[in-house]
């Protein structure tokens, strides 16, 4: 099995689906022109392979999404790329009040089979361009929200998202595009709404997703040397939220830490922790802990940016504290 990047995995998913289904189209800012295809290179080359089906748009996110919704209602399967998650803010009305609602308001007679691809995250891009809106999208009924951590999951989930009849917000991550992982050559799909063990262990359960899955795996390697064997549940999908593995795992380990990159208050970690205590209360041997980003607008300075975000060492510290009963 070949090791490819997260970026390449996404591109393969797009290519396969465009070959398979002529109604799949890609629209977005610079998806054709910039650096050969997309601000982060995901669509590079696709415009040549699929003439007319990959189009650059004006810098008008509300229009990109709005046109995408209309096209989806009319029979296409548009994949709209919003250059960064920060720019979805100006299209929030289209996403929340239109894409998410049509099918429900018209008794399922109308479907909006579109994918909104957009990267969360940071990378010396300062306050207005370094945000994580997982929890925002996960809050909205009518949307499906996917946040893959590995190239394998990214490819399988993007293909499924394109085939899904509901609008899917597909949250990539700036820091993951260059990461590598094994992806089989043959076709496969990963269902939406199914979480995955990324590491099996017996002492403590980490529930996480996206970039923090990879940081948690790094943390697990450090902790393993200290004799602590953590289990990592990667949610992969944020809406609908599949906590079945989290419950199963906590039943075994009796300890849980929710690890998220975004701000703590009203974050998705709070939702997960609440569900764990509701449904796995009798399995808990310690209060559920949360690792999250600091609640400040992102500083531009490199050292401050790093101090703001959670990394493997923060996960390690949280696990140690729990194992030493410091809570």
């Amino acid at each position: 099995m070949a090791e490819i990047t997260y970026r390449e995995a996404l591109k393969r998913a797009l290519r396969e689906e465009m070959q398979r289904d002529p109604t799949v189209v890609i629209w977005g800012e610079d998806v054709v022109a910039y650096a050969g295809g997309g601000a982060y290179g995901v669509t590079s080359g696709l415009a040549k392979e699929f003439p007319g089906r990959v189009r650059d748009t004006p810098i008008a996110e509300e229009a990109i999404i709005g046109v995408g919704i209309g096209a989806a209602m009319g029979g296409l399967r548009p994949v709209c790329e919003i250059m960064t998650v920060n720019f979805t803010l100006v299209a929030w009305d289209q996403i929340v009040n239109h894409a998410a609602k049509q099918s429900h308001m018209f008794n399922g007679q109308i479907k909006v089979p579109m994918v909104i691809r957009t990267p969360n995250g940071h990378g010396r891009t300062a306050a207005t361009h370094s945000q994580n809106f997982d929890a925002w999208f996960a809050h909205i009924p009518g949307l499906k929200v996917v946040a893959p951590a590995t190239p394998y999951d990214a490819k399988g989930l993007l293909k499924t998202s394109i085939r899904d009849d509901d609008p899917v917000v597909f949250l990539e991550h700036l820091q993951l595009y260059g990461t590598r992982g094994e992806v089989p050559d043959e076709e496969y799909l990963i269902p939406i709404g199914v979480s995955d063990y990324k590491r099996r262990g017996k002492d403590l359960t980490i529930v996480t997703w996206g970039r923090m899955t990879m940081e948690s795996l790094k943390a697990a390697r450090i902790l393993a040397e200290e004799g602590v064997d953590v289990e990592i549940v990667d949610l992969r999908t944020l809406r609908p939220l599949d906590l079945s593995l989290a419950f199963e795992s906590v039943h075994k380990t009796n300890r849980a830490i929710v690890v998220e990159e975004g701000w703590r208050t009203a974050g998705l970690g709070a939702e997960i922790a609440a569900s764990l205590q509701e449904q796995a209360f009798n399995d808990l041997d310690a209060p559920i802990a949360r690792v999250a980003g600091l609640e400040v607008p992102m500083p531009y300075a490199k050292n401050l940016e790093r101090a703001t975000l959670p990394f493997a060492e923060d996960v390690v510290a949280a696990v140690r504290a729990m194992m030493q009963k410091q809570y």
Binding site: N254, F281, N282, D283, L284, D285, A286, K325, Q326, Y327
Partner: protein, 443 residues
């Protein structure tokens, strides 16, 4: 300082106990750890040991009196110390009024000694609200451990799962997990013979019309053990959908090996029984069939981490289940020694906490009573019970020839909510295979 002796809680479901006997009189000197009274609970009789040295100054609860858990039954103090006895609670049913010293005037009840200020017993480490994690509470309930006795090591003394797991009940004082050893199958032991009737079908005309031919039947009051057995067996038959699978085990090899082993163990005075071999075989089979080592709960099937094999033991007035803990990790010799000690204690009413209950599977062996086969009632919360009959020389067909082999029949009763016939059949055949290849029991 005066120490109150309180009614101990021996198991989470014990709410009251009856004073069976006082082993000391008022005025007797008692030493710490010395037995001072016998308490009869629903399920057993236990001795209460003194937690301090001094003089038994007051006997508050008299013999025969039922006392709620935690109520004071007596007071130990220095010979010249002034003691105040608390008024027995209204809930205490008392055939003989305890002597209550009048302290503050005739009508005034004695001021109850504040229980919190004077811990009744050193082993009680938690007074009032107990801080424990949810899983620690769950585990304690499953194991019948009273959290008041468990020292917490978490923040602010919170009791964690590890604390419960590490808890060793101090002999006699601590609650006994599942005190009465969840008796199994009263019917299996006491399947009553059909009562001989005065043959009404024959010569009815000769029967007196009204006057009974024999003296009226007498009613034996139900002992507590009988009551408990009745309750548990009825509950099991009502709640557990039973299914049954019988196999015949050729025991010749096992018996030959047993003779060899016992010959070599003679100097040590240890004798392996057939039942010890069955216990070992069941424990090994349970490891391969984790779903048979499980319990049905409304929330889901609970597969147990440990294999604790219980064995029904006949005692006076009924039976109890004694448990060999972590059976799968023990050798035949260890199992034999443990069973000998457990049965001895069970029959002499000297059971210790941990001897009974907590099993994950139960064996009922009537081999000594010359029975061909029988069917047992599932001992909740186990997924199954194995009824073992007598090994008997039996003609069987082997390679087309009728030959004589020592055949022992075993019947599995399974909880159909947990497991199914196919799994039960594979499980019981694994037990059979192990017994027919008995070296696997010692390797």
């Amino acid at each position: 300082m005066a120490t109150q002796i309180t009614m101990p809680q021996m198991g989470f479901d014990m709410t009251e106990g009856t004073i069976a006997a006082w082993l000391k009189k008022e005025g007797d000197v008692v030493n710490k750890g010395e037995p001072i009274a016998e308490i009869e609970t629903d399920k057993t009789t236990i001795q209460v040991e003194s937690f301090s040295s001094g003089v038994l100054r007051k006997i508050i609860a008299q013999v025969g009196q039922k006392v709620p858990v935690g109520e004071v039954i007596g007071i130990i103090a220095d010979p010249d110390e002034q003691v105040e006895a608390p008024q027995p609670s209204a809930s205490a049913v008392s055939p003989a009024q305890p002597s209550v010293p009048k302290v503050n005037g005739a009508a005034q009840p004695a001021a109850p000694a504040p229980a919190a200020a004077q811990p009744p017993a050193p082993p009680v480490v938690n007074e009032g609200r107990i801080i424990a994690t949810p899983v620690a509470r769950r585990l304690a309930e499953e194991r019948g451990i009273d959290l008041r006795y468990v020292k917490g090591t978490g923040p602010e003394g919170r009791i964690t799962k590890a604390d419960v797991e590490a808890f060793v009940p101090p002999a006699r004082l601590a609650p006994e997990p599942e005190p009465i050893g969840k008796p199994v199958g009263s019917p299996i032991l006491k399947e009553p013979e059909p009562t001989p009737r005065p043959a009404p079908a024959v010569e009815p005309a000769l029967q007196p019309a009204v006057v009974p031919a024999v003296a009226p039947a007498t009613k034996q009051p139900l002992t507590r053990m009988r009551q408990t057995i009745a309750t548990r067996m009825v509950a099991s038959k009502q709640q557990v959908p039973h299914f049954y699978i019988t196999v015949s085990v050729e025991m010749d090899a096992a018996l030959a090996l047993r003779a060899q082993i016992n010959e070599s163990l003679k100097p040590e005075g240890i004798k392996i029984s057939v039942n010890d071999m069955v216990i070992r075989a069941v424990a090994l089979a349970l490891r391969r069939f984790p779903n048979m080592n499980a319990s049905f709960t409304p929330e889901g099937l609970e597969q147990h981490d440990h294999v604790h094999v219980g064995s029904a033991v006949t005692v006076e007035g009924g039976l109890v289940t004694v448990t060999v803990r972590d059976t799968d990790t023990k050798t035949l010799k260890q199992i034999s020694q443990e069973m000998t000690a457990l049965v001895e204690r069970a029959r002499n009413n000297k059971m210790q906490p941990g001897d009974i209950g907590g099993q994950t599977f139960t064996i009922s062996n009537l081999g000594m009573y010359d029975v061909e086969n029988f069917i047992a009632i599932v001992n909740q919360p186990d997924a199954g019970i194995l009824a073992v009959a007598t090994a008997t020389p039996t003609p069987v067909v082997r390679n087309g020839e009728v030959v004589v082999r020592t055949i022992m029949r075993m019947t599995l009763s399974g909880d159909h909510r947990v497991t199914d016939g196919a799994e039960g059949a594979q499980f019981i055949n694994e037990v059979k295979r192990l017994l027919e290849n008995p070296w696997s029991l010692v390797l």
